[in-house]
């Protein structure tokens, strides 16, 4: 037991002192600072930009233009400002004048009309150096649509009442039965759960990939540098294996705490509150049970994969061969992650339900189901039970493989060779 802590402490010390750990932590923290302020920054920039100045030839399509500027002016946040430009007669001269106006920076772009036959609404083209932003172009199109509808309505001689009826939107709302009786989750709760699920999935995936690879490559390098020979004669392999996994885990969690602290710290800055509220996300909505499950499943997922990576690392003798050897596990991790990401759209599909019982996927999928669907308690219990049982089984197997693998040098052994060696070593 004593040795377990010695190994754990040594693993932690060497990692925390390593340059790569410090660099990674600072780098990702910086990314998180930028990321968590991004909604605010985008908002700020969009507002600071103001309305786009759009030019039109004075006098051309006067009726349409008057109506258009009327519609735009009535909007709460007009993104388009119409600027009349005096232009000489003639197609080419006019475009020359418009282009000159763009060069002079009085306008960003200009509208060109092409009269349609039979007096119907002309087609409109926006010409500019840079593409119009999505918002502005939608607004412009909607405004033109309104102008067109108004014109058409005027032609049809409808009364104001008839017009109002026509433009009244259909009342449509979707309510789930459980929302009515209050047992289900509200949209806000769902949005928050969705975000939380996203965050946990990414954290788990990252931790598993980074720490798992680290564990595997350290064991392999201990083997290739032959420190292993001394280690296995000084400390029981089981203590060595668990000490290493535990040490790496503590370091990974420390790093996570830094990341979470940076993110939460930035998000609770006053200027960020509004940005998140506007997205419908309220952190007060987080169910404490969700957090407990998040921690539990993170732990389970971490140890499950860490054991697998350790076992693989112990059968490889050279670091060069490691990438290929860990491929299957990397694939499984990726599969779990992507099933979960795609499953966010349909958390109640039977595919997700079935996969959530497969221990390699359940750390990813069970959390998704708890957050976004409403699994029965026995489903959760079964899934967690299978997961815990597999962790024990895989831990036991990994310890055996580790015990055998660390003494096998040379070419990577096949499963049959590994079994033979296990028998020979009596482990």
């Amino acid at each position: 037991m004593n040795n377990l802590w010695t190994v754990t402490a040594f693993t932690m010390r060497t990692k925390l002192r390593g340059k790569s750990f410090l660099t990674m932590t600072i780098l990702i923290s910086l990314l998180l600072v930028v990321g968590s302020n991004l909604p605010y920054l985008i908002d700020k920039m969009a507002k600071g930009g103001g309305a786009v100045k759009v030019g039109y030839a004075q006098g051309e399509q006067a009726e349409v233009m008057t109506a258009l500027s009327g519609v735009l002016a009535s909007l709460p946040e007009p993104k388009i400002e119409l600027v009349p430009v005096e232009t000489p007669k003639g197609e080419t001269e006019r475009s020359e004048a418009m282009k000159q106006a763009i060069e002079d920076k009085t306008i960003k772009g200009y509208l060109e009309f092409e009269s349609a036959q039979g007096g119907s609404f002309p087609s409109v083209t926006y010409l500019s150096k840079k593409t119009l932003s999505e918002d502005a172009s939608q607004q412009l199109q909607a405004a033109l649509q309104t102008v067109k509808t108004d014109a058409a309505v005027k032609d049809a001689n409808l009364t104001q009442e008839q017009l109002a009826k026509l433009s009244e939107p259909v009342a449509f709302d979707s309510i789930r039965l459980d929302e009515l009786d209050g047992s289900g989750k509200t949209q806000e709760e769902k949005d928050t759960a969705l975000l939380l699920t996203y965050v946990i999935l990414i954290l788990l995936f990252m931790s598993v990939m980074v720490s798992g690879q680290m564990i595997a490559s350290e064991i392999t390098s201990e083997k290739s540098s032959r420190v292993m020979e001394i280690l296995v004669t000084s400390v029981a392999p089981l203590q060595q294996l668990f000490g290493r996994v535990l040490g790496t885990f503590v370091v990974a969690v420390l790093q996570l705490i830094v990341f979470v602290a940076v993110t939460v710290g930035n998000l609770s800055l006053p200027h960020n509150k509004d940005s998140f509220a506007s997205l419908g996300i309220d952190f007060g909505n987080v169910d404490p049970l969700m957090l407990i499950f998040a921690v539990l499943l993170y732990l389970a997922g971490f140890f499950l994969y860490a054991m697998l990576f350790a076992a693989i690392g112990s059968i490889v003798s050279r670091t060069e061969d490691l990438g290929q050897a860990v491929m299957p596990i990397t694939m499984i991790t990726l599969a779990g992650f992507y099933i979960a990401i795609f499953g966010m759209n349909s958390p109640e599909s039977s595919f997700i339900t079935i996969c959530s019982y497969i221990p390699f996927f359940s750390p990813f999928l069970l959390f998704l189901r708890i957050g976004l669907a409403d699994p029965a308690w026995w489903e959760i219990a079964l899934s967690v039970g299978i997961l815990l049982a597999s962790i024990l089984a895989i831990g036991w197997l990994a310890a055996k493989i580790y015990r055998t693998g660390v003494l096998l040098y040379g070419k990577r052994p096949s499963i049959a060779e590994l079994r033979k060696a296990m028998k020979a070593y009596k482990v």
Binding site: T6, F10, T14, S224, S225, I230, T233, V235, L407, Y425
Partner: protein
Amino acid sequence: MNRLVVNQVVKHFGDRTAVNGLRLEVGEGEIYGLLGANGAGKTTTMRMVLGLIMPDAGEITYLGKPYSKELLPLMGYLPEERGMYPKIKVSEQVVYLGQLRGMSRKDADRSLKYWLDRFDIPEHYDKKMEELSKGNQQKVQFIAAVIHSPKILVLDEAFSGLDPVNVELLKSTVKELRDGGTSILFSTHRMEHVEELCRNITIMHKSRPVLQGPVKEIKKKFPMERVMLSAEHPVEGLDKLPGVSSLVKHEHGYEMKISKPEVAQNILQHALAQGPIRRFELMEPSLNEIFIRTVGERHE
């Protein structure tokens, strides 16, 4: 009772036999030589002694008791394939290895400092392993094997790759450990070290022990059949003498193989008759010869 007793140990790997019926005992304050060509089963034997693998048959006892995890702090091991953590400080890793052997951090640190002083490299305490020369890395590794003052020490090719000065330094350290009561199982290909250090030896060949016993008695079993002679002047007609089977002329004398020891006296008289003699010796067979004869004969 002997410190370490290996009794009729057998080990198979699949259908290959690695060690077959090995028996040896190492007493307190003894260096026991385990010799053999590559692949003879030395490393497997050592791994069994260290408890890394279990024998298929036979038993190994330490201080009269079978192997258990409690014995780990009593054992030290210097593997043939050298290696430490290249990117970690000497102090950090040696203290860690000492701790794993049951020492406290403080004791391990003190012991490390003592040994670094002893080997005259105290300045490497705070250096990374990869910054050290190969010889100094070996010294550090040796320290890692003995830092916890083990009762049973397994040295696999302890002196390989060292310059003569460092070989002497380590050799005298090993002798000191022996005099301090440590039981040492020692494997090497350098026969002169065995002759200097070991009381008893086992020569293994293809998994079997083929020659065992105290070095002196083993040597007695092999006839003295080599004569060295050097004189002030050239000695003629040595190869004509009866019983001389070969003659090699060296820079400073002659080396002869003889069929029986009595022939040596004839050689001496023959040489004296021609003038004064500077050196005459009826040579004991060297372990090197014994090894080559024992193992080499079976190679064919």
